[in-house]
């Protein structure tokens, strides 16, 4: 194994590990917000279906909820770029 690693061109291992790290960072950051946005939108749709006259207010609040939830995934997205290659 070590023999095999020693044969790599310099910097190749680092580049590969960086790529894996970026994938893990973004993939990990997307799990929670994915579930969270599902809950937010699902409950908003339930609310709109039960009380269609309140749909406007529910929609505004839904977008706010999505924005707050989504921020965590976007932090992960930006962090994946920041990780130095």
């Amino acid at each position: 194994m070590l023999q095999l690693l020693a044969q790599q061109a310099p910097g190749e291992l680092e580049a590969g590990l960086t790529a894996i790290g970026r994938g893990i960072v973004y993939g990990g950051a997307a799990i929670g917000p994915g579930i969270g946005i599902g809950i937010v939108v699902g409950n908003a749709i339930t609310a709109m279906a039960r009380q269609p006259e309140a749909a406007g207010m529910v929609r505004t609040t839904m977008f706010l909820g999505i924005a707050f939830t989504e921020a965590l995934a976007l932090f992960g997205f930006v962090l994946a770029f920041i990780i130095a290659g």
Binding site: M57, T60, F63, L64, I66, A67, F68, E70, A71, L74, F75, F77, V78, F81
Partner: protein, 252 residues
Amino acid sequence: MIFGLEFPPISHVVEWPTLFGSGAFAVNKVIILMWVSAALSFSVFFLGSRKQALVPTGLQNVAESAVDFVENGIVMETIGPDGLKYTPFLLTMFTFILSCNIWGLMPGIQMPVNARIALPAFLAVLVWAVYHVTGIMSQGPIKYFKSATIPPGVPKAILPLVFFIELMGILITRPLSLAVRLFANMIAGHLLLVTFAVLCQALWEATKLGAALPFALLVFLSAFEILVAFLQAYIFTILAAVYIGGAMHPEH
């Protein structure tokens, strides 16, 4: 190299050569687009309000529906009637961000200005300053600091922890998440469109027929990006309004 395709690195997609000037004052395509957006969002309202006809036509129609949207859809729903004095600020912010975002979909230009962190970061700092000044002006510095960091009805035992979290929230997390949300949404959409365009071109050169599916997806994603450009301008503005409203009415 992905699937045998040569995708351009990110720096090739969002960095543009300097046209003139140097250092901090270097002017490139993104800066010029920003100037055009500022001129556009100014002139829509300036020219639209010059001849105020009772039955609006043309530009006045656009200006009036934009004012109506921000006033009734954003300010009245989040701040209330006493927030109407913030309508001009939020309206300018909304139109400016929207016109900056929409450059990403313009054929031949295709660069959302907000895909560089500089502009979202500046706008977030502006909102940060505005809501702090609003809070201090309407409640006084000590009362504002107290109401912003100590939520009512918190048990004494966890108060230090809550105080620290809220303090970080109003000082760092709010502007950071405002800036990063706008920036990351725009750059993600831009990269998505670039990826599909590269895929489309490579498949067209190789097989002609194989490009049909990525091209259909590219058209669909472009329509989706128009929605995102509008939605991000809306979300940025409504969050600014929520923060200003929170600084004005501590009980909510």
